[in-house]
């Protein structure tokens, strides 16, 4: 068995596929290191600059969080998410600026490790493995090999081990190149924590590439001609790596029973506006009837009406955010039919990025919002709910026009040295692994199914 593995590895290493893969790995991983080192430096500089400008204010807080230094493992869309929020009292968040800023560039996936592995390496595993059985059959060597005292199971296992080993060589080289570049530009990120994440991701990658190796062996055992086997494998690759994940987004929008962007906009605007103005109209009738007599009582009543309107706006926006999250969740569940998506999402969890990171951050932000509210209540004596909307109009009291507006939080002028600062929890590897457990189990299941199928097919194959 060792002889076969050794021979196979030697053959593969001398092949064109291997040389080109090694070349691609070095170029892509080097690009990855350079790109993400630069990105992190820029983001970090921006973060430190804003952090140093921080000024306590009871009207709103400008919140930013530390950029993730290990985004190069799996970016997970983090670079397109807002990097800062304005927080108002009663837990109202506003993203500070839409991202990405360079929206004119073509939309392509970021060049992170997970992209290189899930796309380029999986393709090359297919290229390394498609001829494993049918190629030998075509050349007539399969018969010769199996006429020796070599079991079929051992033969196929050796082939499998060789494919995986050969794919992992350029992968390791690439990772070292990327880490080397990152280590030179950002020595502070080279920690044991990073090492454990890298190892976890490499193990995940091995499991992912392994299933493509099994798939190649299966197809190679079933098909008679190697070129056809390759075509079938490429078709399968396109199906799993592109078709399923790429259609899941659109399908989720169709299938999800949640409100769309338009529905939300429609329910929020006219509805709230109508309600608020109806309340103001009722207020005017009460004034006319003589129920409200002073300017102050009118302003208090109007403020109440506006506050209820703001409460509605916040409720609608929250439910809109929830529906966006629900739709994204459905899209991801649909995409999980494909092992490529399983790998992608697990990699994001291990890198502490993506949807998991977003959810954790939201929790932290909400916890901070409660702290902020308590502080404002302590200092100002009351909480005022705000939103993107502001209302103002005039009512008439005894022939005099009174300007009424939706109330805003006042700026506290006294000592604010005890102002709470926002600190986000650093993502922990344990949490990432826990979150990724389902996806990892899925990948293992794919491996088992394909392994059984591959060995089953090969055992029944007519080797003549």
């Amino acid at each position: 068995m060792k002889t076969i593995i050794y021979r196979e590895i030697k053959d593969h290493i001398q092949s064109l596929q291997f040389v080109v893969l090694l070349l691609f790995a070095v170029v892509l991983f080097a690009a990855n290191g350079i790109v993400f080192a630069r990105k992190f430096q820029t983001e970090n500089a921006a973060y430190s600059a804003t952090a140093s400008r921080f000024q306590p204010d009871t009207r709103f807080v400008y919140l930013t969080w530390q950029p993730n230094p290990i985004l190069f493992l799996a970016e997970g869309g983090d670079l397109d998410r807002p990097t800062s929020y304005y927080l108002y009292s009663m837990g109202y968040f506003n993203a500070s600026a839409p991202r990405p800023r360079d929206y004119k560039l073509p939309d392509i996936p970021k060049l992170d490790w997970s992209f290189i592995i899930k796309t380029v390496f999986s393709l090359y595993v297919v290229l390394l493995g498609y001829a494993a059985v049918c190629g030998e059959k075509e050349q007539g060597t399969l018969r010769l090999v199996l006429s020796n005292p070599v079991g079929r199971v051992r033969f196929l296992a050796a082939k499998y081990a060789a494919i995986l080993a050969v794919a992992l060589i350029p992968l390791t080289v690439g990772c070292v190149v990327s880490l080397g570049i990152l280590g030179v530009s950002l020595p502070q990120i080279l920690t044991w924590g990073l090492a454990s994440r890298v190892l976890a991701l490499l193990a995940l990658s091995a499991a992912y590439l392994s299933l493509f190796a099994f798939l190649s062996l299966l197809v190679s055992s079933v098909m008679r001609r190697s070129s056809l086997a390759l075509l079938a494998l490429l078709a399968a690759w396109v199906f799993f790596a592109v078709l399923i994940p790429d259609t899941s987004g659109i399908l989720a929008e169709k299938l999800a029973k949640v409100q769309s962007d338009y529905d939300a906009a429609k329910s929020i605007g006219p509805m709230v506006e109508k309600e608020v103005w109806a309340k103001i109209a009722r207020l005017q009738t009460r004034i006319d009837k003589g129920e409200l007599k002073t300017e102050e009582t009118v302003k208090v009543e109007a403020g109440k009406a506006f506050q209820e309107g703001q409460e509605k706006v916040r409720f609608f926006e929250r439910s809109y955010d929830d529906s966006v999250a629900a739709r994204a969740g459905l899209a991801r569940s649909l995409a999980r039919i494909s092992p490529v998506a399983l790998f992608q999402y697990a990699a994001e969890d291990l890198a502490g990025s993506g949807v998991g990171r977003e959810a954790a951050l939201r929790e932290d932000l909400q916890a901070y919002a409660r702290q902020f509210d308590a502080y404002v209540l302590k200092k100002n004596g009351k909480l005022v709910g705000q939103s993107n909307w502001s209302f103002s109009t005039q009512v008439k009291l005894g022939g005099k026009a009174i300007q009424v507006e939706s109330p805003r939080t006042e700026a506290y002028r006294g000592d604010m040295s005890d102002f709470p600062r926002f600190v986000e929890r650093a993502p922990r590897l344990g949490e990432g692994v826990k979150a990724a457990a389902g996806d990892i189990a899925g990948l293992l299941l794919w491996n088992i199914v394909l392994a059984v199928a591959a060995f089953g097919a090969f055992l029944k194959t007519d080797v003549r």
């Binding site: 092949s15 064109l16 691609f24 170029v27 690009a31 790109v35 630069r38 990105k39 997970g76 993203a95 839409p98 800023r101 360079d102 929206y103 004119k104 560039l105 073509p106 939309d107 392509i108 996936p109 060049l111 796309t119 380029v120 393709l123 290229l127 190697s226 070129s227 056809l228 075509l231 079938a232 078709a235 396109v238 592109v242 078709l243 994940p245 790429d246 259609t247 899941s248 987004g249 659109i250 399908l251 929008e253 169709k254 962007d261 338009y262 939300a264 906009a265 429609k266 605007g269 006219p270 926006e317 809109y320 966006v324 739709r327 991801r332 649909l334 995409a335 998506a341 993506g354 993107n388």
Partner: protein, 441 residues
């Protein structure tokens, strides 16, 4: 003689298992993607119409909606990602579109599952180009390996005729598959009630099919070249697949990555400072007239001047935004230049231009908004201070966005078409030379 070869080759192709697999896959994907995308388009158009009807602004805050592009069914491009709404008033000329919700929340994430989209352009760029490689890699190498090349050329058959016959047959099969896929997509679009194609759209679809054919021809010629230059078909296939991975996956990504990371853009802070500095000379005056305006002074020198100054601020800020926009365009141009030799990148650019789903069409739309703001919108706002009665009577002026004439799209894509044609010619010339010099024994 060429005729005989042509016929034989076509028959061989049509009978081959690889063609049947590839063709079946192509048609299936063309049908599925078009059905999904058409329904998606129908839904987006419904939202657009409902928004126009139900979510109207007023004379002060005017809401402009961007309709979904009909040809995004075939080439999604940036159509879904760039937003649907612009909200304008004299305090702001928008520099980006948002979703139906506000700028902060409605900005649609690139794609909600973290992946891209499947459409006709994807089918051509990825699937059909792969099929082309599978159909052409063995054109010469296989015959050489099995010894039939020697036999064929032992007849009174010039080498050029053999190559031309093979190339013509291969291309016929490839382009036939393309046409079949396009017809399936076209039929589905025509049958669907949400789709209403105009004559200009039809011309654009034809242009799209033509540039797809050109793109596939480049890959065919490349495959022919490799098949001629390499001895064994298995090696030819391997070489071609590596080239394909490089040209379709790696190279365009590197181009965008370089442009993204090595092109300096001004930071948000710098932009904000620039905007502030531009308006600084008028700050004092604005404060004065603002007071008069808030006290109800509606004279041209009071409230009128206030609105005028606010509008001037919007213009000055817009100038800074436009400068930033030009930097973004330059950045995109850099990415395009770096990828100038990648047929896939060239094809995507041209396809998006024809489908009006590229960044160019978006820029045109934003220009229309700017024009509208500077003329019709501001005229209406100023009317309030010149002639209040006329202002009250005036309707909200209609927003117009003239469609891009197809000839302009052709002119814009001329460079891409030229480079693709050159690549095809160069590959064919190289293949012919290699074949004429080839040792056929």
């Amino acid at each position: 003689m060429i005729g005989v070869i042509y016929k034989r080759e076509i028959l061989d192709h049509l009978k081959s298992a690889k063609f049947l697999i590839g063709f079946g896959l192509t048609i299936a994907i063309a049908a599925a993607a078009t059905v999904i995308n058409t329904q998606d388009y129908g839904r987006r158009r419904q939202d657009y119409r409902a928004a126009q009807r139900d979510l109207q602004g007023n004379k002060f805050d005017i809401l402009i909606y961007r309709p979904p592009e009909i040809l995004s069914i075939l080439v999604q491009g940036k159509d879904r990602a760039l937003g649907n709404k612009a909200s304008i008033n004299y305090l702001n000329i928008p520099d980006r579109l948002t979703g139906y919700m506000s700028a902060r929340r409605g900005a649609r994430p690139k794609s909600i599952s973290g992946f891209g989209s499947v459409d006709f352009a994807f089918l051509v760029r990825v699937i059909l180009s792969l099929l082309v490689i599978f159909l052409a890699y063995d054109a010469v190498a296989e015959e050489k390996q099995s010894g039939t090349l020697k036999l064929a050329l032992a007849n009174a058959l010039p080498r050029s005729s053999l190559l031309i016959g093979k190339a013509a047959a291969g291309l016929t099969v490839v382009l036939g598959s393309l046409l079949a896929a396009a017809s399936v997509a076209g039929l589905i679009m025509m049958v669907h009630p949400a789709v209403d194609l105009s004559g200009a759209d039809a011309v654009r679809i034809l242009s799209l099919v033509a540039v797809s054919a050109l793109y596939l021809t480049v890959f065919y010629m490349l495959s022919l070249l490799v098949s001629t230059a390499v001895k064994r078909p298995a090696i030819a296939l391997m070489v071609l697949l590596q080239l394909w991975i490089f040209l379709v996956v790696v190279y365009p990504h590197l181009g965008v990555s370089i442009a993204e990371n090595f092109f300096r853009l001004p930071t948000d802070r710098e932009m904000a400072e620039k905007k502030q500095a531009a308006f600084a000379p008028y700050d004092e005056e604005l404060k004065k007239v603002q007071e008069r305006y808030y006290k109800g002074d509606m004279s041209p020198a009071g409230g009128g001047r206030y609105v005028e100054l606010q509008a001037m601020r919007s213009r000055l800020e817009n100038d800074v935004n436009r400068e930033f926009g030009l930097r973004l365009s330059a950045q995109e141009g850099l990415a395009r230049w770096i990828s100038v030799l990648s047929p896939a990148a060239l094809y995507s650019t041209a396809a998006e231009q024809y489908a009006r789903t590229g960044i160019g069409e978006y820029e045109r739309f934003m220009e229309s908004i700017e024009r509208y703001w500077k003329t019709k919108y501001m005229d209406l706002q100023m009317l309030r201070f010149k002639d209040l009665a006329a202002y009250r009577k005036a309707a909200v002026p209609a927003f117009e966005h003239p469609a891009e004439p197809t000839s302009e799209a052709w002119a814009a894509t001329a460079p891409q078409v030229l480079v693709l044609t050159l690549l095809a010619l160069i590959f064919f010339a190289a293949a012919s030379t290699a074949f004429i010099r080839k040792d056929v024994r």
